[in-house]
Amino acid sequence: MYPEDYRYTKEHEWIRVEGDTGTIGITFHAQKELGDIVYVETPKVGTTITAGKAMGSVESVKAVSEIFAPVSGEVLAVNDELASKPEKLNADPYGAAWLVKVRLSNAPEVKGLMTAAAYQEYTAAEGSH
């Protein structure tokens, strides 16, 4: 459920880093908690995002949730398909339903994020309240 080579945030985003590029999405846990996703708002190509700051939002039938940037950087690409097919975020949150690709401006930020094992523990603890 949590790819080993990804890093995770407490706000339930993931990032996969290749060189100086990061691909960002929301986790399986996030989409499951949200339920049917019907709307996605992502930052525009060329804009910069800042680690820990809101960079967009996803909406389920029931609620709006902000997406927080796991890292800082410049947006290189946006998954435009999600605008017309937001339900893909429920079906394939780690693959086809990535949100944005960014060029990292502060690569060490990634080290501060959770590993798959740490994230799994974190979500388990959160769910046991």
Binding site: E33, D36, V38, Y39, V61, K62, E66, A83, H129
Partner: protein, 370 residues
């Protein structure tokens, strides 16, 4: 993503453990730990519109009023004409403050000339009961009866066919907004042809200890219709498409029936009742604002509490806003100045500080073919 909040000391219905074991996603609804969804809000919503669904609505409250002057008390605390009810008939009504605003919206069932059964909102049940007791200057007994009843709502075009398998009471002969006191699986039950979805269906009031048995039997009986267990998420989207008011949203202690488009539950000619004087006055003066339905014309989803702009200026707020799964639109209800509430009126909804275009449309957004 915001982490979900921790739940503390929430109230539970008799079906709580079953919901958990069946994998429902739970939510804190006005202090109650209730199923938000089972298979998904969209899936459940469409099941109710096209087939059947069952909801646990045991969180709803019940108040029973008995005695020689039971009718006088009901007439005093509600604006609709309870005197026009016959035995086994149901009426949508309200409890109003002297200023004409809502204590709650309620269903009044007449069990007999001296016995009325009120179904009230979960989070208001104590307040409602105390309000009625405070207003009781009649020879009537008021009972807080919520603990005596579990409530299951079976809704959808196949709801009657489903429940009919479990009861000897002939459901087709119960008219809309009427009820029967009969049985389900031999268990004494009130079977009411009512609901909060805009579909045909029945609401069953049962002894709490029997709720689980009936819930399971309904799911089994509805299997041929592909029935779905449903949560409060779908209940909300269904009632919104049908433009049914939700306390705390369209109506509360600041809104009157005139403003909320519920003037039809106010019978000014029935004699005096709580709120009447204020409502007469407001009717003479005219209301300043009015509840209106809108649909988004630009990309975006209006949510509860969002600011509504008219002519570029803040003019009201969204009371309920959501994607409408059956209509496949983004819809909502809002209060706007009366002179700007006309059909076709362009408005804007402020979504994350951006004005997004919408238009006032006829309501209900959805009405079933009868």
């Amino acid at each position: 993503m915001e982490p979900a909040g921790a739940a503390t000391a929430l109230q539970r219905t008799p079906l709580y453990s079953l919901h958990r074991s069946m994998g429902a996603k739970m939510v804190d609804f006005g202090g109650w730990d209730m199923p938000r969804e089972y298979s998904g809000i969209i899936d459940e919503h469409l099941a109710v519109r096209t087939r059947a669904g069952i909801f646990d609505v045991s969180h709803m409250g019940e108040v029973e009023i008995r005695g020689p002057q039971a009718l006088q008390l009901v007439e005093w605390v509600t604006p609709n004409a309870a005197s026009r009810l016959q035995d086994n008939q149901v009426q949508y009504s309200a409890l109003l403050y002297p200023q004409g605003t809502f204590v709650d919206d309620i269903l009044v069932h007449r069990f007999g000339p001296e016995h009325f059964f009120l179904c009230v909102n979960a989070s208001n049940q104590r307040k409602d009961y105390e309000w009625i007791v405070d207003q009781n200057r009649f020879d009537a007994e008021v009972e807080f009866a919520s603990e005596k009843y579990a409530q299951l709502a079976v809704q959808g075009p196949q709801a009657l066919a489903t429940v009919q398998k479990l009861t000897r009471t002939e459901l087709a002969s119960i008219r809309y907004y009427w009820f029967a006191r009969g049985e389900v699986l031999g268990i004494p039950a009130i079977l009411a042809r009512t609901g909060y979805t805009g579909e045909d269906g029945v609401e069953l009031y049962l002894p709490p200890e029997e709720a689980e048995r009936v819930w399971k039997a309904v799911l089994e009986a509805g299997r041929e219709f592909d029935i779905r267990p449903c949560g409060l998420g779908a209940r909300n989207t269904l009632r919104l498409e049908a433009k049914m008011a939700l306390y705390g949203h369209e109506i509360d202690d600041t809104t009157t029936p005139w403003e909320a488009g519920l003037g039809w539950i106010v019978k000014l000619d029935k004699g005096d009742f709580l709120g009447r004087e204020a409502l007469v006055k407001q009717k003479e003066q005219g209301v300043a604002r009015q509840l209106a339905g809108f649909e988004m014309r630009e990309r975006g989803i209006a949510r509860d509490g969002y600011v509504v702009r008219v002519d570029g200026r803040p003019a009201g707020r969204v009371t309920s806003g959501s994607p409408a799964p059956f209509l496949k639109k983004s819809i909502g209800l809002c209060y706007v100045p009366v002179e700007r509430a006309g059909l076709g009126q362009r408005i804007e909804i402020e979504i994350r500080n951006q004005p997004v275009g919408a238009v006032i449309v006829p309501t209900p957004f959805y009405s079933r073919k009868k």
